[in-house]
């Protein structure tokens, strides 16, 4: 692997000091002159007809500037299937449906006004599980589709399907076979910075919106469509992304509150801010889907996988977001984690009157990985094979093309598995039955972009100033994951300047080139690839100009040097002759001649070159722009085929746990995470990202569940919705990064943003099984579930024994 100057070296993130000091400005901190505060009236029923809305009292309240409902505003449709309305008209389909909104001069008045709005409902029967919603004759949640055609059931029209090989052959070839069902709960992204936006119109009716989003350019498209719906055809929206306090997928869609802020801003002619408080964030923002999956797998006598059958049922909630396309990512592990031929995969999505869901870190992968990697251990147990050996037998390899058509360029899965086994002391600790146990689980994820849209591209503009500083305009979103850190290092490395001279501008659709969005672990992969391309372009320009500037300026250098050092004899080197564009090198902001001697005077500061060409007659300044679309394809999801990413990330995680058999409490003693990251860009940032992901993975495994009763969220706060605290992460964590130097990756790197939480839960569940012999198949693994399972296990162990005694007497 190449030696790098900045890449791979620990560097503090450029945004961390401001964030630690409270100087970063989140949406909550932003103010606009004359700004009003918006507040939303949400439905009090999960499924009901709206009979009447009385806003008269709210309108009369002093300080209220606007009260809107579907009755006095244009209809704005949005969502992945455009089945959602900014303000609901005739019917509510979930507790959080937006019925009315107000704008007032302060947040308290807005809240008071909301309480004065009276809504008359006619309740309808609710459907709160996919099973209920799929029953024959179940009430329809949506009577028609977006085109107005009548619907006949509650299933979504989206199809995600894959078949390869022959399932029957696979089953016949199986010596061991296991079929089980698994489930995952609703989970909240739990961003520390809650959702919000400020919408503001200028006098030409163009919109500026400060939005907490991960998809500024798709949001621009959505908002422009909304402007059109409002009768403002041809008007534009500019999306500015403030500092984000976390995204985790919650910014992959546009939201009703954003359209409501736009409507209120247009109606009042003043900027309108809507920010969710914590309770609203929990109850009214879309969480991660709940899923149920059935997995059947088999293997032959030698432990080779013979087939895999996967069926997923996903509770979509009442409306459809991008998150409904989770199965597009579930296909990756279903078809391509470990080598298996003879595959069946099918996913169904069902409308219910539960809260509608959206993307969250991992995007379907943690859900299916939970089922698959639990099932791998169950099959290994059935076959009497060590789960580590079982995984090694079926391990993916570089160069393979998987049944889904994924082209595996590099693959460090074997190294990851071995690293986890070694760090857990697997051979010594596995199957010890002393209330302590070890478990592991692996993952595959997109690591080179993820094409789920017709473009998977990302652009970058680099601008140089008179002082040798580089300004980057990039459409990707820094949301706390460290994108700006690696982009800074990549630009510094690729161009040859110091990281201190690189500045990343705020993401703004008005200044930055297009980017599909910061999702699919693509941020670093895409941004750093654009950095390399743009730096090359810029350096070519610099070196071309240096041909002319370098000899003159270096001559001056030499003169000065000689004045200071009389008697100095310069080495034999004709720098005027050697100063050709292809002979230069740029490092730390200085231009050298590659093969020249490294004399202090024999170099040109980039800033001097820039000033020289700027201030001469017909001067010029340097910028470079690139647009990079990675070499991947948009898969056919109905057939489940296509190389969705340029490269794939692999990883294995391991856990050692101890179980209190009296209370069911689980104590994690040790976590190990080994990830094939291609190349470590910034070890400090990467470690932080994996530590955070592991905490989120531990939350998914042991604590987190948004509890919904008849469609209502019962724990909308951090007291009752539990994410791990620092005290719950108080155990040793070993990280290992496998560098496979991927040829598509910038500096060899793959994406690694999501993988850190994907296999954590099954690794812990497998460790619990190893410790006490109980298998929990529905997340989260609460002490209560473990205690119930332990009791059942005890009874089943006692019952046969008693029977045997009876026989004997």
């Amino acid at each position: 692997m190449k030696n790098f100057r900045y890449i791979g070296k620990e560097a503090p993130r450029p945004d961390s000091a401001d964030k630690a000091a409270g100087k970063a400005h989140y949406i909550h901190d932003l103010q606009r002159p004359g700004m009003l505060y918006g507040k939303i009236k949400f439905s009090e029923h999960p499924h009901a007809r709206i009979k009447h809305i009385d806003t008269s009292k709210a309108e009369r309240l002093a300080g209220v500037r606007a009260v809107i409902t579907a009755n006095n505003t244009p209809e704005i449709r949005f969502g992945f299937l455009r089945d959602n309305l900014a303000l609901k008209k005739d019917k509510v389909r979930q507790y959080r449906d937006e019925i009315a909104a107000v704008a007032a001069i302060d947040p308290d008045i807005a809240e008071e006004a909301i309480d004065l709005i009276e809504v008359e409902y006619e309740p309808l029967p609710g459907l709160f599980s996919p099973e209920e919603a799929m029953k024959k004759g179940a009430p329809l949640i949506h009577d028609t589709d977006v085109q107005g055609r009548p619907r006949t059931d509650n299933l979504l029209s989206l199809q995600f399907h894959h078949e390869s090989g022959n399932l029957g052959d696979g089953k016949r070839a199986s010596e061991y076979l296991i079929e089980r069902e698994y489930s995952t709960p609703l989970v909240q992204q739990s961003c520390l910075g809650t959702a919000g936006c400020i919408a503001e119109f200028d006098m030409n009716n163009n919109l500026t919106i400060w939005a907490k989003t991960q998809i500024p350019f798709l949001a621009q498209r959505d908002f422009n469509r909304a402007l059109s719906d409002m009768g403002l055809q041809g008007k534009n929206s500019r999306v500015i992304v403030p500092t984000l306090g976390g995204g985790f997928g919650s910014g992959l869609d546009t939201h009703a509150y954003e359209y409501i802020a736009i409507l209120l801003a247009f109606q009042t002619g003043r900027p309108v801010k809507i920010v969710y408080n914590r309770e609203e964030e929990f109850a009214y923002l879309s969480p991660r889907q709940s899923t149920q999956s059935r997995i059947a797998q088999g293997c032959d006598r030698n432990g080779k996988l013979t087939f895999r059958e996967v069926e997923v049922l996903q509770d979509n909630g009442a409306y459809t977001s991008w998150g409904a396309t989770y199965p597009s990512v579930m296909m990756l592990p279903a078809t391509s984690l470990y080598r298996v031929s003879n595959i069946y995969f099918n996913a169904r999505l069902v409308y219910t009157n539960n809260t509608y869901c959206q993307a969250m870190r991992g995007y379907g992968n943690p859900e299916l990985n939970w089922a698959l990697e639990s099932n791998m251990d169950e099959l290994a147990e059935e076959a009497g094979i060590d789960p580590f050996e079982f995984r090694m037998i079926n391990c993916n390899e570089p160069g393979e093309t998987t049944p889904m058509g994924l082209k595996v360029s590099t693959c460090g899965l074997k190294e990851c598995l071995e690293s986890v086994a070694q760090k857990l002391d697997w051979k010594k600790k596995h199957k010890k039955s002393n209330l302590r146990g070890v478990g592991m689980a692996s993952l595959i994820h997109v690591g080179g972009g993820g094409r789920i849209y017709r473009s998977d591209a990302s652009g970058l503009i680099l601008k140089l100033d008179d002082f040798g500083n580089v300004y980057a305009y990039h459409g990707g979103v820094e949301m706390g994951q460290g994108l700006h850190s690696v982009l800074t290092l990549a630009i510094a490395e690729a161009l040859g300047v110091r990281p201190e001279n690189v500045f990343i501008n705020p993401t703004d659709t008005g200044t930055c080139p297009w980017d599909i969005g910061t999702h699919a672990s693509r941020g670093a992969f895409m941004a750093c690839n654009t950095a390399i391309l743009a730096a090359n372009k810029l350096r070519d320009k610099i070196f071309e100009l240096a041909e002319e500037v370098f000899p003159k300026e270096v001559e001056k250098n030499l003169k000065k040097f000689r004045e200071k050092n009389p008697g100095y004899n310069p080495p034999e080197f004709d720098f005027k002759k050697e100063a050709k564009s292809d002979c230069f090198e740029l490092q730390d902001g200085f231009i050298f001649i590659k093969k020249g001697p490294r004399e202090a005077w024999l170099r040109l500061e980039l800033a001097r070159l820039l000033r020289a060409v700027h201030f001469r007659n017909q001067g010029q300044m340097l910028t470079a722009e690139v647009f990079y679309d990675p070499p991947n394809v948009l898969p056919d999801f109905e057939k489940g085929f296509g190389n969705i990413s340029a490269t794939y990330a692999y990883g294995t995680q391991g856990a050692e746990v101890e179980v209190d058999v009296e209370t069911g409490e689980i104590r994690i003693l040790h976590l190990v995470a080994a990830h094939d990251v291609g190349k470590v860009l910034n070890p400090l940032a990467l470690k932080g990202q994996i530590y955070g992901a592991l905490a989120q993975g531990v939350g998914y495994a042991l604590y987190e569940e948004l509890q919904s009763q008849q469609g209502k969220i019962m724990n909308p706060n951090f007291r009752d919705y539990k994410i791990p605290t620092a005290l719950d992460m108080d155990f040793p964590i070993d990280l290992e990064f496998i560098e496979t130097d991927d040829s598509f990756g910038p500096f060899g790197a793959k994406g690694v943003a999501e993988p850190g939480l994907v296999p954590t839960a099954p690794a812990i569940a497998n460790a619990i099984f190893d410790a006490v012999g109980v298998r929990i198949r529905d997340l989260p693994i609460t002490p209560q579930k473990v205690l119930v399972a332990l009791n059942k296990l005890k009874q089943s162990q006692e019952t046969p024994r008693r029977k045997r005694v009876n026989k004997g007497t």
């Binding site: 947040p107 308290d108 809240e111 008071e112 309480d115 309770e279 009296e662 209370t663 069911g664 409490e665 604590y703 509890q707 019962m714 724990n715 951090f718 007291r719 009752d720 539990k722 791990p724 605290t725 005290l727 719950d728 108080d730 609460t782 002490p783 209560q784 205690l787 119930v788």
Partner: protein, 291 residues
Amino acid sequence: MTLSNIVYYEPRTLTEIFKLLKGLNSVRVMAGGTDLLVDLKQGLIDTRNIISLHKIRELKGIEKKNNTIKIGALTSIQEIISNSLINQHIPALADAAKSMASHQVRSLATIGGNICSAVPSADLPPPLIAAEATVDLKCLGSSREVPLSDFFRGPRETICRKEELLTSIFIPLQPPNTGMSYKKFTPREATALAVASVAASLTLKNGVIAKAVIVLGAVAPTPVMALKASKSLTTKEPSEDSFQETALTAKEESKPISDIRGSIWFRKELIYVLTRRALDEALSRAQGKLE
């Protein structure tokens, strides 16, 4: 709901407070505010007036007088944790305090507030009841001292009258060879309410249990004494068997509900385990084996 329509009082003397309590109609007293403000924001309670106690110095502090430890109602949870009198005489109360919420909340929240909020899962009442604490209820011109075990009437309901203020908590110094323990089950290490909790106090005399008090938390509308279980231990020699039997009795005596934090079955199982563990620790402390 918004707090803008609430009148906020910050009196400097107890007399002023008593007058306000008597004169105002819709009124709540605020100590640390960590329960009250959250409940107000969530619309769980409704009030027109709030009287803050935080300027009343005399309600703060812990002192020993004769054979009693007096804790001012406004003493913060954090002060209880780091107070040497408490750690020396009733370490179980410090344990309970340590298990609460987070450092930030503990610095604001007070013992009086924890008692008066009367939440079934509150952490301080069980060890206080096990230590036979009493509370002082004062109003204009009169005061009464009642055992804490008689103080609670239901979830968020106490015998404290509208014009009364809980000013102090009195804990009698425990007889020699007494050990106490507080055990609590939470789904995570910090910022978690008890799913079930048990406080136990054992007094030994000549190797025999002279007195036992077992108090259960979060498994009934109020903290409750497990009377049968407590009684079953008196005059017995402490042993694994007797503790197990007592724990089973406590489990039967508990009357939990099922909610998002745990089912009836699970809570009863926990009472069994926690009672045994609390008795074990109380015994070790009574025998001087701990601390």
